[in-house]
Subunit: 327 residues, 2 copies
């Protein structure tokens, strides 16, 4: 965002599906500069009524399970066979530390990234999970405004990132590798509960039998997870490398999405997500305002030292800091 | 707290080990009335320099594993054999809903509750986990001021309550029941990582062999958990019902505690806990002040409705609510 861009012109170009404009809009939305922030709010407001019409799919799985290959394979099926327009985003709060990380290397999805109907964007490379998630949500809206009707949001599964991705998508695909039954515990129970669709990858060649056994194990485990909202979880085996089962995977996802729409559950999920997003933003901004206060910032080190040393009660310290706050 | 109590007199009585005064002080600390809150802050400040000298042990385990029986057995060993003074507290944010819940029924620890050197207090029966945890932390300080030198804090393991209890204790004891190896996944991985000591209960009679097998399974699993702070986790089998192994359990806990003291890790843990507690209090109070504002409260429903309906961006809604806030 080196030179100023007119937000009205930029938003019109995004709505017309101009890829360069979309990339520029995303850079604006990802910026943390205050003047950029104000303009990105205006930009998003201008495209808001053209958002929300894509199928939003969260995708998780431990490293090595073949997420990139699957996304490449699924993305090409959507674009080439079904004529869809696919955006691929990522949430990885660790990407600054690891220097690049997921989706940063476009050669990982070489074919998909060359398609004019696919748009691949790496994870914002800074900050807390909350910050990364907020910017990814906003980028998703921009992609929808630009006409992408499927959004795939990948996560590496670090910390709470699966929950963050499930909190911004319509349904959640968990990818696992063929494994012995006793390795099933390697997937966190909480992540199993998020999964609307579970796919066992690498169901090809020598691993086929093992993949089917793993599918049976996970299928049984999935039925035991708590499902507050009634969608019956689906599971299947695929091979991202050979492409086998990838069309079936999309059928399963589309079918689950249709069920969510038909039952009204999609509307409920999105309403809950919007509500949570509002109060997350409120919490973040209220606390940022507090910490930005120079008197509070000046007093905090001595209060913290007193509390840590056990000379002052935490409640007393908090009361002092609040008393010092002048907005 | 029907009639006013002089805080100076009350704090002196607590410091003298007067049980009735301790009970009255706890009731004051647990009250949510503003005038009680102000007096409890004063009360806690008066006893602060006599706190922090107990061994603080968090205890968790799924329902039916025998937590009450174990606490009764361990408590009696501490009081009768070792001459310690034991306070037993609980954190159960669900206790209002379930109407009583853990430690509410003193008959569960009938013998221990009759001892003059034991003090059993049920979980505060209201509110969020944060609120329950804050009051339990303050009650712990009062118990220490009254001369109790071991504090056992029980949790039912609902939601994040184990993390809250680990955040207020020196070390964490996880109690499990004899089980088949494939049931090991029933314990959340995050909880395994909190455990400094793991005890397999019900190692008696017909279950003895199964308890030893379970001990081997969990012992192996424990070694695989991440341990950022270097304490090697201990595991052993006990029978709370027969008392077998209960003296050994305390030896293991005391030994681990000694290691934490010697390495400086205990001081680090407590400093981290105090710091987190301070910022939890700050966050809670800042957000409470925001939500208590009548203009904010009046505006919030329409902003939320606009955001939920997708007519307004969450960031925009948050900015409007913050703009309306006048402290």
């Amino acid at each position: 965002v080196a030179r100023p861009v007119d937000v009205e012109t930029l938003s019109a170009a995004v709505l017309a599906g101009d890829r360069a404009a979309l990339a520029r809009a995303i850079t604006l939305v990802e910026s943390t500069r205050d003047d950029h922030r104000a303009r990105s709010v205006e930009l998003l407001a201008r495209v808001l009524d053209r958002t929300g019409r894509s199928v939003r799919v969260g995708i998780s799985g431990t490293p090595g399970v073949g997420k990139s290959t699957l996304i490449e394979s699924l993305g090409k099926h959507l674009v080439d066979d079904l004529g869809r327009r696919v955006a691929v985003l990522a949430v990885d709060p660790s990407s600054r530390r690891t220097g690049g990380s997921i989706l940063g290397d476009k050669t990982r999805m070489a074919e998909l990234s060359r398609s004019p109907n696919a748009f691949i964007r790496p994870s914002p490379s800074s900050g807390t999970l909350g910050g990364v998630a907020r910017r990814t949500r906003e980028v998703m809206l921009l992609c929808e405004a630009a006409g992408f009707d499927v959004v795939l949001v990948e996560t590496v599964g670090v910390g709470q990132s699966e929950t963050a991705v499930a909190g911004m998508t319509d349904l959640f695909l968990l990818l696992v590798a063929p494994a012995g039954g006793d390795e099933l515990q390697g997937v966190k129970r909480g992540v199993m509960e998020l999964a609307d669709v579970l796919a066992v990858n690498k169901c090809d060649g020598d691993l086929r039998a093992q993949a089917m056994a793993t599918l049976a194990d996970y299928g049984a485990a999935l039925q035991l997870t708590r499902r507050p909202h009634g969608l019956v979880p689906r599971s299947l085996a695929v091979s991202a490398a050979t492409g086998e089962g990838i069309d079936g995977l999309w059928s399963v996802i589309a079918d689950a999405h249709g069920e969510l729409v038909g039952s009204g559950e999609l509307a409920r999920r999105r309403a809950d997500q919007q509500r949570s997003w509002l109060w997350d933003e409120v919490r973040e901004r209220v606390l940022a305002a507090f910490h930005a206060d120079p008197v509070v910032a000046g007093l905090a080190p001595s209060v913290e030292a007193d509390v840590v040393a056990g000379r002052m009660l935490p409640g007393d310290g908090a009361a002092r800091l609040l008393g010092a706050w002048h907005r």
